[in-house]
């Protein structure tokens, strides 16, 4: 059995060049962090690529039932793997900070009037 190409979903092959580069803003930040860290010499691209390949392979071996394929989520996980491996951050620190951010009141980033 072969997996079908996603002809109509978000990963569908477009017939024009009009696709957005990033589906959501956080994807662009995850992308930008990895590239700027690499360019500042924090790690080699080969190291990051190996972590990304490992994350993708793990997802493909055992896809999470309740979480659809998302390339940049795996990209982010790979970046964390590299940084945690180097001791630049710990996974617990990232989780704790994310929890703090989650407790912000709704609309915290919509202070401006629409």
């Amino acid at each position: 059995m072969t997996a079908p190409l996603n002809i109509e979903g978000p990963a569908a092959p477009p017939r024009s060049n009009g696709e957005l580069v990033f589906a959501e803003p956080w994807e662009s930040r995850a992308f930008g962090m990895a590239v700027t860290l690499y360019e500042s010499g924090a790690f080699t691209w080969r190291r990051f690529q190996a972590a990304l390949i490992a994350r993708i392979a793990a997802w493909e071996t055992a896809p999470a039932q309740d979480e659809p394929w998302n390339y940049y989520r795996l990209w982010l996980a790979a970046l964390e793997d590299v940084l945690v491996g180097q001791g630049a951050v710990s996974a617990d620190e990232v989780t704790a900070r994310a929890r703090t951010l989650a407790r912000r009141p709704p609309g915290h980033d919509h202070g401006h009037s629409h």
Partner: protein
Amino acid sequence: MTASGSGERLPAALRTEALEQLLTERGLIDPKVMDGLITEYETNVGPLNGAKVVARAWTDPEYRRRLLDDGTAAIKELGFMGRQGEHIVVVENTATTHNVVVCTLCSCYPWPVLGLPPSWYKDPAYRARMVKEPRTVLSEMGLELPDGVRIIVRDSTSEVRWLVLPERPAGTEHLSEEQLVPLVTREAMVGVAKVKAP
């Protein structure tokens, strides 16, 4: 599953923001530098660069020869260079040979000429199936190739970043280089489509 694969589920957006804050506080990244880099890929670096390379190759035989000989150097002549462009190899599609590019293990892609890869290029089904049944996958993507055409699947997993030089379509002999540029699509330069005459 969280982004780290351990502990509670947190939206990737929050985890990304948390990581960016921590790295900024430690002086490991500069958000302004990141802003500039992201803008560059959202607005400047894209398939238009590759289209200019292809149109030049179609109209200048000497350039075409240099491009097929040393992709990175010939692409640099037009001012396109940088990240993921260190080892670009250009392969030519003809009436009898069709090259198509995939990265089976991740998403390697020639950023300077095509920008960042589209979703379908990163999709597990495309990556797994293109090497096994390219003719079927190409057909599903709207490209029917005659049985006599030899298909070569180029896997970008090594250092090499592949760029396909598509066939110049019949009926475009009268068009100038500038008029040819908008005909060249990203899909044609990955090898999942052909360039069509206007």
